[in-house]
C-alpha cells in the first residue's frame, strides 16, 4: 500500500497531473465562493472536458474542484455573510461575527487551517479504513436515516441563540417549507396550488441565498447612513496565533473524523456534517455561550466538518460504486466515461488510479491550504470595497446565483421572497439558520419514517430493534435534555 501511495504521490506531483490539480483547486475555490455556484456544478461543467483526458488527470482535476469548492463556499460566508452552499451556512454563525469584529484575516486563516485538517484526516481515514466505513454505511437504511435526521433536528437548539423557542419556531418554518411539492412517497401534490414550479418543491439554495445574502444586503443598506460617518472600516491582517491553533486543533480533528463518518453514509453530506460538528463542539465546550458570538472553535468545527466529508464521500463511490452525494454522482459519471467500473474491482484492477486519487487528495488539500493562506490578503480586499458599491454587487450576484443553480426564474422569486422574510425575521430577533436545518432534515425525516414503516409493514419496531437507530435516539434524548438544561440556565440568568 505504501508503495502504491508513493507512486501516487509521484503521479500527483508530475508534470501532467499537478497543473490540472492546481487548476481544479483554484477554480473550485473561486466557483465555491460565488453564491449559487456549487462544487457539484463546477464538476459537472468540467465533465465534458475530461472525455478526452487520461483517467488520472481527469479525476484529479474533478476532485480538486470538489475540495476547493467546499472550502471556497466558506470565504464568502465568512467575509460577506453569503454562504454559497448549505455546507458553509454553519460557518456564518461565528465566521461573519469575527469579520464584523475586524478579524477577517484570523477567521479566514482558521477556516483554511481547519478545512485542511478536516480534508487531510478524511483522506487518511479513507485510505486506511475505506472497507470498514463502507460496511458501516451499508447498515444505514431508512430507519437509520430517520433517526439521524431526528437527532439532527435537535441541533436547532444549539444554533438558536438565547431563545430556543424562537429557534424552534424558525425550525418549524423550515420543516413546513420542505413539505411543499409532490409528496416524495406517493406523488400527492402538497401546497402546490397547481403551480408547476412548486411541484418539485422549494430548492434549498435560493432559500439560503435569500435568507443570508439578500437579507444581509438589506441590513447593510439600512446601516449605510451611520456608516458614512466612519467610512474607513478598520480590520487587522493578523492571522491566527499559535494559541488559536492550539485551541482549535482538538475540535478540528474531532470534526474531521465526524465529517468522514457522516460523509461515508450515502445521502448525508457536507451540510449535515458541518452543523453536526458545530453542535458537538458546542456541547463539548466549557464555554458554549461564546458560540455564535465569534467563537473560533465554532468556526473551526464547521469548517473541518464540511471538508471532512470530502474523503468520506468517496467511500461509497470507490468501494460500493454508488455515489454518496451530488458531487460524487458526477464523479461516478466521470469514472464510467473513463471506462472504469467503480466498486471493489477498482482496487483490484486499477490500484494506480485509486492510489493516484488518494495521493492527489492529500496534495489537493495542501494546495488548498496554501492558496487559502496566501489568498487571505487578497480576499480581504473584498471587504475594503466601499459598502455602497458592494451591496448592489452582492444583490446582483445573489439573484443571478439563485437563477443559475437550476436555470429557473422561479428560483429568483424564491430568493427574493426569503430575502424579505429573512430581513423581517432578523428585526424580530428570530434566528435564521434553524430554517435551513428544517429544510435540510425535514424531507430526510419524513420520507425515511414512511419508508421505514413500509419496510416494517406498519410496525414501529424499527425504533428499538436496530442498534444504530437506538444509538441516535439516545443521542437525541441526551441532546434534548442538554437543551432544556441550558434553557433553564439562560432563563435564570
Amino acid at each position: 500500500m505504501i508503495e502504491h501511495l508513493l507512486n501516487g504521490l509521484l503521479t500527483a506531483l508530475s508534470f501532467d497531473v499537478f497543473p490540472v490539480l492546481l487548476f481544479g483547486v483554484v477554480g473550485g475555490i473561486i466557483l465555491g465562493a460565488m453564491p449559487g455556484l456549487t462544487a457539484t456544478m463546477g464538476v459537472a461543467i468540467l465533465l465534458p472536458f475530461t472525455f478526452g483526458m487520461d483517467s488520472t488527470p481527469a479525476l484529479v482535476m474533478l476532485i480538486g474542484v470538489y475540495i476547493g469548492g467546499i472550502y471556497g463556499g466558506s470565504i464568502a460566508a465568512i467575509l460577506l455573510n453569503t454562504p454559497g452552499t448549505p455546507a458553509s451556512a454553519a460557518s456564518v454563525l461565528d465566521g461573519y461575527t469575527l469579520t464584523k469584529n475586524g478579524q477577517a484575516a484570523r477567521a479566514l486563516s482558521i477556516s483554511a487551517v481547519s478545512s485542511f485538517a478536516g480534508g487531510m484526516i478524511s483522506t487518511v481515514l479513507l485510505i486506511a479504513f475505506a472497507p470498514i466505513l463502507a460496511s458501516f454505511a451499508l447498515r444505514f437504511n431508512a430507519p437509520e436515516y430517520f433517526a439521524l435526521a431526528l437527532f439532527g433536528l435537535t441541533i436547532i437548539s444549539s444554533i438558536s441563540g438565547n431563545n430556543i423557542l424562537k429557534g424552534l419556531m424558525a425550525g418549524m418554518i423550515g420543516l413546513l417549507v420542505s413539505t411543499i411539492g409532490l409528496d416524495p412517497i406517493n406523488s400527492v401534490p402538497r401546497f402546490t396550488f397547481d403551480i408547476l414550479d412548486l411541484h418539485s418543491g422549494i430548492s434549498i439554495i435560493p432559500v439560503l441565498i435569500g435568507l443570508f445574502a439578500l437579507s444581509e444586503a438589506l441590513s447593510q443598506l439600512e446601516d449605510i447612513v451611520s456608516d458614512k460617518k466612519h467610512t474607513l472600516r478598520r480590520f487587522s491582517l493578523k492571522i491566527l496565533s499559535r494559541k488559536d491553533l492550539k485551541e482549535i486543533t482538538p475540535t478540528a480533528v474531532k470534526s474531521g473524523v465526524l465529517g468522514t463518518v457522516i460523509g461515508s453514509i450515502p445521502g448525508a453530506g457536507a451540510d449535515i456534517s458541518s452543523f453536526v460538528c458545530y453542535n458537538e463542539a458546542k456541547r463539548a465546550s466549557k464555554t458554549p455561550e461564546e458560540f455564535g458570538k465569534g467563537s473560533i472553535k465554532g468556526l473551526s468545527a464547521a469548517e473541518a466538518g464540511n471538508n471532512g466529508v470530502t474523503g468520506g464521500a468517496l467511500v461509497p463511490l470507490l468501494t460500493l460504486g454508488v455515489p454518496g452525494d451530488a458531487v460524487t454522482a458526477v464523479l461516478l459519471g466521470a469514472l464510467v466515461i473513463q471506462g472504469l467500473s467503480p466498486g471493489p474491482l477498482l482496487f483490484t484492477y486499477s490500484p494506480d488510479l485509486v492510489y493516484g486519487i488518494f495521493s492527489s487528495m492529500l496534495v489537493a488539500n495542501i494546495v488548498m491550504l496554501l492558496v487559502g493562506l496566501i489568498g487571505i490578503r487578497f480576499f480581504c480586499k473584498i471587504i475594503e470595497i466601499p459598502r455602497i458599491l458592494m451591496i448592489p454587487i452582492i444583490m446582483f450576484l445573489s439573484i443571478i446565483g439563485a437563477y443559475a443553480i437550476n436555470n429557473s426564474m422561479f428560483d429568483i422569486g424564491v430568493a427574493v421572497f426569503f430575502g424579505l422574510l429573512g430581513f423581517t425575521l432578523i428585526k424580530f430577533k428570530i434566528p435564521l439558520s434553524p430554517i435551513l436545518i428544517g429544510m435540510i432534515l425535514g424531507p430526510m425525516a419524513e420520507t425515511n419514517l414512511r419508508k421505514s414503516l413500509m419496510l416494517y409493514e406498519s410496525s414501529w419496531s424499527f425504533l428499538y430493534d436496530r442498534p444504530i437507530v437506538l444509538f441516535f435516539l439516545v443521542l437525541t434524548a441526551f441532546s434534548v435534555y442538554t437543551a432544556i438544561r441550558l434553557g433553564r440556565k439562560n432563563s435564570l440568568n
Partner: protein
C-alpha cells in the same frame, strides 16, 4: 386576382423568412435542457451529445439542467420554449407516463421528436447471498409471501415492477428509494431483497459479484451481460426498460429538425459516441422522427394500461 397575388406574396415571404432562418441555422448557441440533475445517466448522455454537437453544428450546445418532478419540470419547460431550434430537450420515458398520472401538463404531442438515442432494458438484481437464482425462484417466493418480498424501487410508481406484477399476478412491497444510487445499497445491505435498474446503473456491482442478475427484461440478451438470460428465456414474457431521445418544441420548422436530425445521426454513428455509450453500458437505439414518434405513442399506450 389581387387576393391570389397577395396570398402568394405572403406565402413567398413566409418561405423566405423560414428559409433564411433555417439556412442560417444554427446562428447562435443552442441550449439542451436536461430534466435531471448532473451525474445521472440522462445528464451524461445529454452532455456527451452536446459536446459532440459543437463540432457537428459549428455552434456551442450548452447543457441546462432543469430538474424537478421526476423530469416534469424540465420537459414542460422545454416544450414551452420558442420553436426556433435554439432550445432542445432531452426527452425521457417520463413523458409517456407522467402526463397520464396527472403529474405533468405537457406530453409527447407538445414536442417534435427528433431522434431517439438509447433504449435500455431493466435487469432484475438480488444480492449475492440471495437464495434466488433465477426469475422463477423470485416469482414463486413472491406468490408464497403475498406482498412480503421487499422491492427497492428506483421510482414511484415503478413500471418495471408493475409490468412483472401484472403479468405474473404477484405483489411485492415496493419501497420508493431515490434512484439506483439508493436502491442498490439497500439491496447490498440486505434491507430489501430485489431491485430492477438499467445495466449501466449496476454494471460494476454485477461485475464484482456483489449483485446477482436474475434476468434481463428484453427480447434478446445484451452485450454487456452476455451470461444473463432474458426473462423470456425463463418463460416469463415481460420486457421493459427505459429510453431517451431529443425533442424540440412542436412548432419548430421541419428544415431545422432535419438539420439537427442529420447531425445527431452523425454523432450517434461516430466512434467516440459509440465508445462513450459502450463504457456506460448503454445501448444506442437510433430512431428517426417518424419511428421515434410512433414508438413513444405505443409506449404511452402500454404504460396507460399499467397506470389504469
Amino acid at each position: 386576382m389581387k387576393s391570389i397575388l397577395k396570398s402568394t406574396l405572403i406565402a413567398a415571404a413566409f418561405t423566405f423568412v423560414a428559409g433564411v432562418s433555417a439556412a442560417d441555422y444554427p446562428a447562435k448557441t443552442i441550449r439542451l435542457v436536461v430534466p435531471f440533475s448532473p451525474g445521472g445517466g440522462t445528464d451524461s448522455v445529454g452532455r456527451a451529445i452536446a459536446d459532440a454537437a459543437k463540432d457537428e453544428l459549428g455552434r456551442n450546445m450548452i447543457v441546462m439542467n432543469r430538474t424537478g418532478g421526476s423530469g416534469a419540470v424540465g420537459m414542460s419547460f422545454g416544450a414551452q420554449q420558442k420553436p426556433d431550434g435554439y432550445t432542445l430537450t432531452v426527452v425521457t420515458r417520463e413523458i409517456a407516463s407522467l402526463p397520464q398520472m396527472g403529474l405533468m401538463q405537457h406530453d409527447a404531442e407538445d414536442f417534435k421528436l427528433i431522434r431517439m438515442v438509447n433504449l435500455d432494458p431493466a435487469v432484475v438484481l438480488v444480492s449475492k447471498d440471495s437464495p434466488f437464482n433465477n426469475i422463477n425462484d423470485l416469482i414463486a417466493e413472491a406468490k408464497k409471501r403475498d406482498g412480503g418480498l421487499k422491492f427497492a424501487s428506483t421510482a414511484k410508481p415503478n413500471f418495471y415492477l408493475m409490468a412483472l406484477e401484472k403479468d405474473q399476478g404477484i405483489k411485492l412491497n415496493a419501497i420508493p428509494y431515490n434512484g439506483a444510487s439508493e436502491a442498490i445499497p439497500s439491496v447490498l445491505g440486505g434491507h430489501t431483497q430485489v431491485t430492477m435498474v438499467t445495466p449501466g446503473e449496476a454494471l460494476s456491482q454485477i461485475r464484482a459479484g456483489q449483485l446477482k442478475a436474475l434476468g434481463i427484461m428484453s427480447e434478446e440478451r445484451i452485450a454487456f451481460l452476455p451470461d444473463t438470460p432474458t426473462l423470456k428465456e425463463q418463460g416469463v414474457d415481460v420486457s421493459t426498460g427505459t429510453w431517451r431521445g431529443i425533442g424540440a418544441p412542436k412548432d419548430t420548422p421541419d428544415a431545422i429538425i432535419s438539420t439537427l436530425g442529420k447531425a445527431f445521426d452523425r454523432i450517434m454513428s461516430s466512434e467516440d459516441f459509440k465508445n462513450f455509450m459502450q463504457k456506460g453500458a448503454m445501448t444506442i437505439h437510433n430512431l428517426d422522427e417518424k419511428e421515434f414518434t410512433e414508438f413513444v405513442a405505443t409506449d404511452t399506450k402500454n404504460l396507460g394500461v399499467l397506470i389504469k
